[in-house]
């Protein structure tokens, strides 16, 4: 029996995981959320920005991984629009363009932000490194118009923005190695302050940069999104996501413990 338990068919595990996701989604719980310290640092940084400051949000995730970074983007944009901090949206991967455009429009509509005055979505340009480096010299050299095709020179909020010098923060919402690229080229070369919101899979990769101060703050996966939602006193997809994730983690811990109990009993018997 214990032998069987140790070599349990992975499809049974998959069924349990599926249930651990579906049941809490259908019957949401409301677990108390502890805001991670790096998320609080990011919130504090944005909260301290003066009215009229400008930040860039880089939507550097794909349609595959949007579940985690999208609630982060939503929470940060809500915070910015409430604080009258202006937001420039860009993306380094072509496939995110539509997702990011729609999200910006949705949050702006909810908060009454005006396109071209409170926010602008510049969209995608090929060559990620070229975009990062080129914007440091002149944003207009990379983006001559916004995603809707309006020339940059005619967008009111871009009037006094030439390059990174007028940008208070770049928030990279990432699912791969783009945070490192922003740190290497925009922070090291141009001194641009970088914040990040990343998927749970690559969170541990960010800690060296947090410790060195190359990241002003971090939203780690769903926990970061939920933490930021808590700080702006709202409860949205991030909070729902982390509550669901809680039960999957609990299941995995339970399975690992069960597997080890079976392993020990099996070993004892063999001895």
């Amino acid at each position: 029996m214990f032998e069987k338990l140790m070599r349990i068919d992975r499809r049974i595990i998959f069924i349990f995981v599926g249930l651990a996701v579906i049941v809490p989604t259908l019957f949401p719980s409301n677990l108390p959320i502890n805001v991670p310290e790096p998320t609080r640092q990011l919130y504090d940084y944005i909260d301290a920005l003066p009215t009229g400051a400008t930040i860039i949000i880089a939507f550097d995730y794909g349609p595959s991984s949007f579940a985690e970074p999208q609630p982060m983007a939503e929470a940060v944009m809500k915070h910015c629009f409430d604080k009258k901090v202006r937001v420039i949206g860009i993306n380094l991967f072509a496939e995110t363009t539509t997702l990011a455009d729609k999200l910006m429009q949705k949050v702006a509509k909810e908060k009454g932000a005006v396109d071209g005055e409170d926010y602008v979505f510049l969209g995608y340009r090929p060559g990620a490194l070229q975009v990062i480096i080129g914007m440091g010299t002149e944003i207009a050299s990379i983006f001559d118009s916004d995603y809707a095709g309006n020339p940059l020179a005619e967008i009111p909020m871009m009037e006094n923005i030439t390059n990174y010098e007028q940008i208070s923060l770049l928030l990279d919402l990432a699912a791969s190695s783009t945070v490192e690229a922003w740190i290497t080229y925009a922070n090291t070369k141009y001194g641009l302050q970088i914040g990040a919101g990343v998927t749970g899979v690559i969170v541990s990769q960010m800690y060296p940069y947090l410790q060195t101060g190359q990241l002003v703050g971090l939203m780690p996966g769903f926990l970061g999104a939920a933490g930021y939602e808590k700080l702006i006193e709202t409860s949205a997809e991030g909070t729902a996501g982390i509550n669901t994730e809680s039960f999957v983690h609990l299941l995995i811990v339970g399975l690992v413990v069960l597997g080890n109990i079976a392993f020990f009993i099996q070993q004892r018997r063999e001895e």
Binding site: I13, P63, S64, F66, I242, H249
Partner: protein
Amino acid sequence: MKRQVPLVLCFVFGIAMIFTQFSPHTFSQGIHNEVTNWTHIITPFALVLAVATLIQTHWVRIRRRTTHWQYSIVVFAGLITMVAFGIRSGPKNRVFEWLYENVQVPMDATVFSLLAFFIASAAYRAFRARTFEATLLLISALIVMMGNVPIGDFLWNTVMAWTPWDNATSNASQWILDNPNLSSRRGVILGVSLGAISQSIRIILGIERSYLGGGD
């Protein structure tokens, strides 16, 4: 000659690009930007080659009726549909947007979400306390897994309320991430970086030539 020209090009551009990192002058930065631009210009041409091989591979499969040749028809259907709508009216086209939101996004998200299932099965199989080191790994994994979700602290604060440590799970998890995780990661990063530099020097000096098409 066929091999010497790329080797010389690699050496010249490799050395030039290294020196542009140490020279902030407009001239050297201009060279850096120019070379980077060239690499981006080359990519679309290579993409044409790639699409050509994709079409060729799948066309041959359909023609020869090889195993699972039916999937190749799906490849052509997807390719033609997206290209047709994308080229004609750009990404703002209604049909293109619909296909993007209702086909590409859910399919991509489905593959990504497989990760949750695979992490569970891999964790179940791999996390066994076979040795002392494996036990340490197992314990830290359990702490981080519980500390990264609110249920960890909730359970601790409920069950272990008598202890003086509030939110001990997330605090312990953060300690693991900030200390053992960070230091070991730094060690690996240092090794990887030196390895990458060494590999780059070998390539620039023409010692490592395998990327030119095998052989020596």
